[in-house]
């Protein structure tokens, strides 16, 4: 096959996979056209589900599969996709990096649209450098850490990182900007602007969110994403070369690859065009030994060689390729980091001693220890949550639980008959549950308590009872009794005062969300009483 054909196949494949990734990302929300045949005679709850295979890219990712396996001893659903990809890598090398990876494609495009350097300096930048060992260091530490019991793979995994950055920072950020414009247009007195704003909003909100999506600390996620894009100014596909742990893993598998770069010394004129165009700094030029573990399979060298000195060929029988240059020091450092990080992560006592009261996990979450073994911090649960209650943690779950999901009840609440988050979780850190299980068992995520000093009726500021109205359980976990309290002018007033029945409360947080005392509501949820923990309980 001609080199240009190969390069074009690569570009098309990159484009299609990136589009597919974006499509699944956008579809990771409840659509507005769900039609259920509910009628009066229908007397059991249906679970709303999203029909698209939202977890596809996560299932395709061997790093997520492997890290879940060694840490949680759990085969994630659809892991055979990852297995298939591993097999492909064993034959064709890092084809994933060059043809499929949506983050790699993004970096590729950024490096191509605005090349970091020119001429000789680009050739120099594309020489293999020892910094490329960092990714092996990261891979070792992530896998060793996972083995010991803390799965941080998702922090660095390209699929998780890309999804998280787009879902929590890029799309909501754009969405907020666009919605502000629409709201401004809708308020305008000019009729055509009103119409335009409604029309455009119908088209735009399915993509950017039906309301103002917000995620605590997402600015940080966005900043890191921008930084990884900026790194392409230093070297093309800096992330893929130096940092990507999945790339490192695939690089190791590629040692057996039969798709090899064949070099012809005699034809080479040493023009260095191949090196200049090399995306992975894999030493394509004749005279240097090809670094198959670094090669991103972009076929640029093959395409740029005017002399026909380079070609990719399938060679059988299989011979071992060059060993990936990991560096012993990098491996040792990775090993050390991998051992120490999980142990350091336990020092806050969250697993063994105390539970953070505001760490409220989604319904169906595994016990904290197992949760940290499986959660890939991909943010899919946060993206699909219809009320926008699930947020990434910053410090609430300790260092070990950085960017894991947490419910922030001033931003939303867990809807009583919603079980969407567990149905999309790619790693099983949140179990898939049914409405029946959630409401009848029931699955509690915490407990409500009234802060009487701030509560309107308790503090003598008049009637309210919004919490009781919204409480979704039957019988209601929030009940009231009409009692006399002292009002502002010293008069005794008869108002309904709210109380919480801890036996019934599931901690859904709608009371906290709807409480008229904003910011720091007068009724709040703490994690105590959550079903997933044996220790974090209140009642006998």
């Amino acid at each position: 096959m001609k080199a240009t054909h190969l390069v074009w196949i690569r570009r098309i494949s990159q484009g299609l996979f990136l589009l597919f990734f974006l499509f699944l990302l956008i579809e990771s929300r409840l659509p507005q056209d769900i039609y259920l045949r509910y009628s009066l005679v229908f007397s059991s709850d249906l679970d709303l589900r999203i029909q698209w295979p939202l977890g596809f890219f996560f299932q395709l990712d061997p790093l997520l599969w492997l890290s879940s396996l060694v840490s949680g001893h759990h085969f994630i659903t659809g892991f055979w996709w990852a297995l298939a990809l591993t097999l492909v890598t064993l034959f064709l090398g890092r084809i994933f990096c060059g043809f499929i990876c949506p983050l790699g494609t993004t970096h590729h495009v950024v490096s191509w649209v605005k090349p970091a350097l020119k001429g000789k300096r680009m050739i120099e930048a594309n020489q293999k450098s020892p910094s490329q060992r960092v990714k092996y260091l990261l891979l070792t530490s992530l896998l060793v850490g996972a083995l010991i019991g803390l799965n941080l793979a998702g922090l660095m995994d390209p699929i998780s990182l890309f999804f998280r950055s787009l879902a929590l920072a890029v799309f909501p950020g754009l969405g907020v900007g666009i919605k502000e414009i629409f709201d401004w247009m809708a308020k305008s007195d000019i009729r055509i602007l009103n119409h335009l704003s409604y029309g455009a909003e119908v088209l735009v909100s399915p993509v950017f969110g039906y309301s103002y999506q917000s995620y605590q600390s997402a600015w940080f996620i966005g900043l890191i994403f921008l930084l990884t894009l900026f790194l392409n100014r230093i070297r093309p596909r800096f992330w893929c070369r130096v940092l990507c742990p999945l790339g490192a893993l695939l690089g190791i598998f590629s040692r057996l690859s039969i798709l090899r770069l064949e070099k012809n010394h005699e034809k080479c004129t040493n023009c260095e065009l191949c090196t200049k165009n090399c995306q992975g700094a894999a030493s394509p030029i004749p005279g240097q030994q090809w670094e198959n573990a670094e090669c991103l399979m972009c076929f640029n060298c093959f395409d740029s060689c005017t002399e026909g000195a380079l070609s990719f060929q399938l060679r059988w029988p299989r011979t071992l390729n060059r060993k990936p240059d990991m560096g012993r020091r990098a491996l040792l450092t990775g090993l050390l980091a991998g051992i120490s990080i999980p142990l350091l992560g336990r020092l806050d006592g969250q697993v063994h001693k105390v539970s953070e009261p505001r760490l409220i996990r989604p319904p169906g979450s595994l016990p904290e220890k197992d949760f940290l073994r499986l959660c890939q911090r991909c943010s899919l649960c946060m993206k699909v949550c219809p009320t926008n209650v699930i947020n990434p943690t910053l410090g609430e779950a300790g260092m070990a639980g950085f960017w894991t999901p947490r419910l922030v009840m001033i931003q939303g609440y867990c809807e009583y008959t919603c079980t969407l988050c567990g149905s999309v979780c790619p790693s099983g850190a949140i179990r898939e549950i049914s409405v029946k299980e959630k409401t009848e068992r029931p699955i509690k995520i915490g407990s409500a308590y009234v802060e009487r000093g701030r509560c309107l009726p308790w503090s003598g500021n008049g009637p309210c009872i919004v919490c009781e109205e919204h409480c979704p359980t039957s019988p209601k976990a929030i009940y009231f009794s009409k009692e006399l309290v002292t009002g502002p002018d010293g008069k005794r007033i008869l108002v309904p005062l709210p109380y919480v029945d801890l036996k019934i409360c599931v901690g859904c947080g709608i009371c906290e969300y709807k409480c008229p005392v904003k910011g720091r509501p007068a009724i709040r949820i703490i994690s105590a009483g959550e079903s997933r923990s044996v220790k974090n309980q209140i009642l006998l």
């Binding site: 409840l30 659509p31 507005q32 056209d33 769900i34 039609y35 259920l36 045949r37 509910y38 009628s39 009066l40 005679v41 229908f42 007397s43 709850d45 249906l46 709303l48 919605k179 709201d183 247009m185 809708a186 308020k187 007195d189 009729r191 009103n194 119409h195 704003s197 409604y198 029309g199 909003e201 909100s205 039906y210 309301s211 103002y212 219809p386 009320t387 809807e415 009583y416 008959t417 919603c418 309107l456 008049g462 009637p463 309210c464 009872i465 919004v466 009781e468 109205e469 919204h470 409480c471 979704p472 359980t473 039957s474 019988p475 209601k476 009231f480 309904p496 709807k514 409480c515 008229p516």
Partner: protein, 313 residues
Amino acid sequence: MSHLITRRTTLKRLLKISGGLVLSALTGWPLNGPGSVSAKSHKKGFIVEGLGQEEGYSLKELTRRVFEAAGGSSRFVSRGDVVVIKPNISWARRPDLAATTNPELLEAVIEICYEAGAKKVRIADNTINDPRRCFAISGAGMVAKKTGAELIYPRSSLMREMKLQGNRLDAWPVFVPLVEADRLINLPVAKHHGLTTLTLGMKNWIGAIGGRRSALHQDIHQSIVDLARFFNPTFTLIDATRIMIKNGPSGGRLSDVATKNTLILSDDQVAADAKASMLFGLTPDQIGHIFLGQRWALGTYDFQQLDQKKVIL
């Protein structure tokens, strides 16, 4: 898309209203419809109670008969009207739990509107739970798809601050499609409610506004009356096919539900609520906003003043 209140339409409407007022003063003709707040007629209102007594009665048939008893649907909906229905679908609950308006009734009313010549029928509600889930699970989404009615999702750009000129509420963000309708239909479900005792027709208007709704509880009955006066629907049709007798307004168990097979249709918001409250074994004056509604002359629960009819199927 929906058309909006602009200066021009406001002026037009004002002209129509003032013209209509003069005309009505001259001829003694009543004026009904949103916007004509001050044109409340002194003509006798009506209240129709429909009861499905026989086993497996057709709700559609009952609805039709109730409208016929009230003088036929053409009395309420004219050819070319944009009709907006405000059901109560605040909660993502299955229909049999009586937290939301019966989807079969919703379907029947939409069909009647179309038959009377409505140009467009819209279903709009600013729900408490997520609107996508509410519309899907309550069955309203399916009804809209089947009948061709339009579902209006509450969006921030559809909330606009308006002068309510109520006793308690002055300016408040209002769900715009409801005030832009030619005909506004209130289609609530009859339910128990912790704070207001019951939630029927008038309280349904809390789902027609945006803003800091949870603050309304601090003077709930007066707020309800203010909203009811502002929205002033063409008619109220209360769904009491099954009612929620405890744990309202969300409920959640079949033991919270009682079957009544009743529909109450009236052009008097207070009367409709009053009639429905009796299904719960209460007297109308026990409920704050019904009592206030009569006092502020929004309507009456003295049924003698109304044209009363009963339909039994």
